[in-house]
Subunit: 196 residues, 4 copies
């Protein structure tokens, strides 16, 4: 996992350019220029535009899986587990805004990305979340008149939709805002937006 200087510079440059222009409009020359290296070096290390992009994409997925696996096996109370998943996305946005932006704009919705392997990544992601929702219902914490399937989509949709707005507005996050957002999302999901 340790990369040499140039390799890392190229990855970071690629993150910036993919984020700014999107995959289709990114030129390998842009990445090379942004990284301050020659044209050929990008190919020397990464072989092709697709490979470079996939490496970036896989970084995202492996981070995400790591967090979800952790929460799946967590003994924490249910609301904390949801909060933790939400926090993952907000932290990702705070720490790796480019990567998060690429996820939002290039991975999560791209019809192009939805090859069989791409779909597989998603399935694994949804399945992990659904398992958590399922457990929430089985332990009597979540209402069971709505399919766990649907609950998952509502929750993940809300989180992802929320993040996408942050990305769109290039908004800055501090810890206070982050906390307020996490609370807002989990509270609305668990207790609703209606006044009691």
């Amino acid at each position: 996992m340790v990369k040499n200087d140039k390799e890392e510079m190229i990855i970071n440059a690629a993150l910036a350019v993919f984020c700014k222009k999107g995959y289709a409009n990114t030129r390998m020359a842009d990445i090379a220029r942004e990284a301050g290296v020659s044209y050929g070096l990008v190919y020397h290390y990464f072989g092709s535009k697709k490979v470079l992009f996939d490496i970036i994409v896989n970084t995202w997925w492996s981070d995400l899986y790591h967090v979800l696996e952790e929460q799946k096996n967590s003994k924490a109370a249910f609301p904390e587990r949801l909060a933790y998943i939400t926090q993952f996305f907000l932290d990702a946005y705070a720490n790796k805004p480019n990567l998060t932006s690429i996820f939002i704009s290039e991975i999560s919705r791209s019809s192009v990305y939805h090859t069989s392997t791409g779909l597989e990544k998603f399935r694994r992601f949804f399945t992990l979340c659904e398992a958590i929702m399922d457990e929430g219902q089985k332990t009597g914490f979540l209402r069971d008149d709505i399919r766990p399937h649907y609950l998952t989509y509502i929750f993940l949709g809300a989180v992802e939709g929320f993040i996408s707005i942050l990305v769109l507005g290039r908004e800055q996050l501090n810890d206070k805002r982050k906390k307020r957002m996490i609370d807002g999302i989990t509270q609305v999901f668990l207790d609703g937006a209606r006044v009691r």
Copy 2:
């Protein structure tokens, strides 16, 4: 607004191809072939790939604005208004699956699309929704410890996330399922997923 035969065939072909391949991977030749016309004719009527795409995109936005304006001025009870917005997306998916799919995968998240004009469309969309949420808080229906801003993003994110799953799975909708989905989304948003 009345189009002649060929013009409409091209629009429909474009919808199908953009939906299947995404904007960047769509060739003008694909659209012409799908429409059964020469590709000179596509240029004759639409001038460029971008114009053709924008026409499609504008169809989406104008449909959406129409519904939202209607609900903004509606005298209906608040939950019904949310349900109606949700229903718009589900109806769009049922009646114009290609267009909805293009919205999900090419418009709503595409960093490329987010030029100043593209952003403007979104702002108008969010602002309309936010006005509804704002009214919900002011009339004491919605809790006011969460910013209307956030409520909007959570609600729209949930709806859009939900639809994107339908698109991804190319799921069929009948009226019963549609109703269950609308109820699920609005109930979770309003009353939460937690057992009382």
Copy 3:
């Protein structure tokens, strides 16, 4: 088989450039310039450099097969049949020097061309010749203390080697020289170079 103007101009240009520079050193831009058409038109008609080359190659093979099949079924005396095969190559050189040159320098010996399909072309060619030699032995015309296999290679090698010299020297052929060459090759093959 009827080609339009530009298509034929491109084929002829390709023949000239492949002949002059060889496949590997031919640039598609060279062909386009030689044909006096734009870059893209070569691709419009032929799709790729390889396809363009293969079309040319196939012209050669189909001409050759045509002649050999004819001679295989011929009732002519054996020497005439050999002379006819020899004549094919000399006529090819006289009428289509570029094509013949490409055969000599790019097809007949190219390790690159010898893929399974390329090899197949050769096998068919050799097999047809061998059948003629075989018949020559069976009818008592040719000595049978040398395998028909070997006779074929010696004969074809001599013919091909001879042609390759013509190509190398860009020599001009008139009917008189052509006849002398045909006689020389067939006489040496049949009666030997030794004084009796």
Copy 4:
């Protein structure tokens, strides 16, 4: 002429790769990998791909010239001298199959575009052979109704064509087969394939 270990390994690797892929499709990296050295070292010793190839080519030519000079000045009977030339090629194929294959597929015919120096090599080769044929005619051994020029091309063409088949089929040679081939070629060239 004495080479160190690595130098020789590189030459052998180059022989193998040029033989397998042809000059144009050979990558310096392929040669380095095959030799088990870095590709900087290939440049350290040989300077360029062209130089490396030329060294290999020159090995071939100098071996060949050596044999031909020997036979030119030989006092042996004419048939033995032809047999010896034929044997040179068959021995070369048996002992250095890669080098022979490179001659057949990369040197002997691609010289069409190969510079004046490449053509020069051939001229010298043909001239040497022609001198032998010329002497054969002058001493009354060979018929003189065919130009020595033509006789040379027929003989060399037959030999080279024969070898090229061996290369194509990657055929194994033992001493018995070798002798049968030499006899076949020289006998047909001298006495013809026709039954007397």
